[in-house]
C-alpha cells in the first residue's frame, strides 16, 4: 500500500474525536432542545399556512445540510486529489451517507409540506427538482464508493466525480430554474422571502444550528469509523501475508 507511510497521524485525530465529541453532542442536544421548543410550541402558526409551517423548521435546515455537506465533500475531494491525504479520503467517504440522509429528509419533509399546501405530494417545482437531482448525485457517489475495492483508488475516483458534480450543480440549478419558468405551473409557493417574521426566523436559526452540530458530531464519529476500517483492512492483509490462519476472516469480512 503506497498510501500507508503518509498516513497523517490518525492517533491525533482519534484523540480529537475523543475530546470533541462529548462537547458537540452536548451542544447538539441543547440546540435541539431550544430549537424544538421554539419550532413546536413557542412559534405561532402562519396566518396562511396554519400549523404546516412548522414543517419548514425541518425542511429548510435539511436543505441547508444537503448543500453544506456537498461543500464539505468537495473540499475533502480537493484534499484527496491534491495532497492525497488519507484523512481527506475518510472525510469524503463518511460525509456521503450523511449527506444522502439529509437530502432524503429534505425531500420527504418537502413532500409532507407540499401535500397540504399544494394538494399534491410532489410538484416539479424548481427548488424541489434541484434537490431531487442532488439526491441522485449523492446516491451515485455512495454507489461509486461501494463498487471500488481499493480504498485509496475509490477515494480518488469518487473525488473526481464529486468535483465534476460540484461544477455541474450550479448549471443544473440554473437549467432547472429555466425549465421551470418555461413550463410555468400554477405554483403559489412563496416561502421565506424578506418578510419572514422574527418569531419564525428564530426557530429556523436554532434548528439550522442543531442540524449543523448534529452533522459535525456524526461526521467526527464516522471519520473515526473510517480510520478504524482502514486499520482493520491493513491488519487483515498483514495477517494474511504473514501466513497465519487469518484467511477465513478475510473472506468472511469484506475488506472495504
Amino acid at each position: 500500500m503506497r498510501t500507508m507511510p503518509n498516513y497523517a497521524n490518525p492517533a491525533d485525530f482519534l484523540r480529537l474525536v475523543r475530546v470533541a465529541v462529548p462537547g458537540t453532542t452536548a451542544i447538539t442536544a441543547i440546540l435541539f432542545g431550544i430549537g424544538l421548543y421554539l419550532a413546536l410550541l413557542d412559534s405561532p402558526p402562519d396566518y396562511q399556512q396554519g400549523e404546516t409551517v412548522r414543517i419548514m423548521y425541518l425542511h429548510v435546515p435539511s436543505a441547508w445540510m444537503a448543500m453544506f455537506i456537498y461543500v464539505v465533500m468537495s473540499s475533502a475531494a480537493f484534499g484527496t486529489l491534491v495532497w492525497r491525504h488519507p484523512l481527506a479520503d475518510a472525510v469524503q467517504k463518511s460525509a456521503a451517507p450523511l449527506g444522502t440522509s439529509f437530502t432524503f429528509l429534505c425531500l420527504v419533509t418537502g413532500s409532507l409540506w407540499g401535500k397540504p399546501e399544494w394538494g399534491t405530494w410532489w410538484v416539479w417545482d424548481a427548488r424541489l427538482t434541484s434537490v431531487f437531482v442532488l439526491f441522485l448525485i449523492y446516491l451515485g457517489i455512495v454507489a461509486l464508493w461501494q463498487v471500488i475495492e481499493d480504498p485509496g483508488k475509490a477515494a480518488r475516483l469518487v473525488a473526481i466525480f464529486t468535483l465534476v458534480g460540484a461544477v455541474n450543480i450550479p448549471i443544473i440549478k440554473f437549467s432547472v430554474d429555466w425549465w421551470n419558468t418555461l413550463h410555468q405551473s400554477a405554483s403559489v409557493f412563496r416561502m421565506g422571502g424578506p418578510t419572514i417574521a422574527m418569531s419564525m426566523l428564530l426557530p429556523l436559526i436554532f434548528m439550522t444550528f442543531s442540524f449543523t452540530f448534529l452533522f459535525v458530531t456524526l461526521h467526527l464519529l464516522a471519520i473515526r469509523n473510517e480510520i478504524l476500517r482502514r486499520r482493520v483492512r491493513r491488519l487483515s492483509m498483514l495477517a494474511a501475508s504473514a501466513g497465519e490462519a487469518e484467511v477465513p476472516v478475510i473472506f468472511a469480512e469484506p475488506a472495504e
Binding site: L81, V133, G165, N168, V176, W178, L182
Partner: protein, 226 residues
C-alpha cells in the same frame, strides 16, 4: 483519414482511424446505437397510444431521451476494451497527452454513434408525426447536444473503467449530470418558445463540456488504472 493530409498529429490520427475501424466491425457498437434508438422510438407509441397529435407534441422529447440512452449504451466500452487489451497502459505511458487521446476517442465514438443518431432523427421524427420545423429543430439540437452527452459520458466511462459491470453505474452517475443538456436540447427541439435562446445555451454547454471533460476523464483514467 490519410495521415499526410490530416490536420491531427499522427498518433492521434492513427488512434482515430483505429477506433473507427474497430467500431465499424461486427463487434463494435456503431450500428447498435441507431438500432436501439429506432427501437426506443418504436415502442413509445405502444406506451402512449397511436394518437399522432400527442406523439407530435412529445416527439422531440422522445427523440431526445432515446438519443440520450443510445449514447450511454455504448459508452461503458469506451475505455474498457482498451483496458482489457492493454492499449490503455500504452496511452498512459505515451508522450501524447492523455487529454487529447480522450478527446480523439470521444470524437470517434461520436462519429460512430452520435452522428448516425443525428442523421436518423428526422426520419424517426416523421414516424412520430413531427412537422418540418420540429424535424429541423430536433436534428439541429441533437447535432449540437450529442457531443456533450458523449463527452460527459466519457467521464463516467473513465471512472468505471476498472469495474467489470460498470454499465448501470455509468448511467446512474451520468444521467443526473446530463439533465441540463436534456432540458435545453428538448427546449430547442420542440420550439415551444424562441429556438435560438436554448440552442445557444446548448452550444455553450457543449463547448464547456469540450473544454473540461477531457481533463476530468484523463485524471480518472490515470487514477483508475493504477
Amino acid at each position: 483519414m490519410k495521415q499526410n493530409g490530416a490536420p491531427l498529429p499522427s498518433p492521434l490520427g492513427a488512434l482515430l482511424v483505429r477506433d473507427l475501424k474497430i467500431g465499424r466491425r461486427i463487434g463494435g457498437a456503431a450500428s447498435m446505437g441507431v438500432l436501439f434508438f429506432l427501437c426506443l422510438v418504436a415502442i413509445t407509441p405502444f406506451a402512449v397510444g397511436p394518437d399522432l397529435a400527442l406523439l407530435a407534441r412529445i416527439g422531440p422529447a422522445i427523440l431526445w431521451i432515446a438519443a440520450l440512452l443510445a449514447t450511454l449504451l455504448g459508452l461503458d466500452r469506451l475505455f474498457q476494451a482498451d483496458a482489457e487489451d492493454g492499449s490503455l497502459d500504452l496511452f498512459l505511458m505515451s508522450d501524447t497527452p492523455l487529454e487529447l487521446i480522450v478527446l480523439v476517442k470521444c470524437l470517434a465514438h461520436w462519429l460512430l454513434t452520435g452522428l448516425p443518431l443525428v442523421i436518423a432523427s428526422p426520419f424517426f421524427g416523421l414516424m412520430l408525426g413531427l412537422d418540418a420545423r420540429a424535424l429541423e429543430g430536433v436534428a439541429a439540437s441533437l447535432l449540437v447536444g450529442t457531443p456533450a452527452l458523449t463527452l460527459i459520458g466519457a467521464i463516467g466511462a473513465a471512472l468505471t473503467v476498472s469495474l467489470r459491470r460498470g454499465g448501470l453505474l455509468l448511467a446512474i452517475l451520468i444521467l443526473p449530470l446530463a439533465i441540463p443538456i436534456l432540458i435545453f436540447g428538448v427546449a430547442a427541439a420542440s420550439g415551444a418558445m424562441a429556438f435560438l435562446t436554448p440552442f445557444l445555451v446548448l452550444c455553450g454547454l457543449t463547448l464547456a463540456a469540450l473544454a473540461l471533460t477531457p481533463f476530468a476523464a484523463a485524471l480518472a483514467l490515470r487514477n483508475g488504472a493504477e
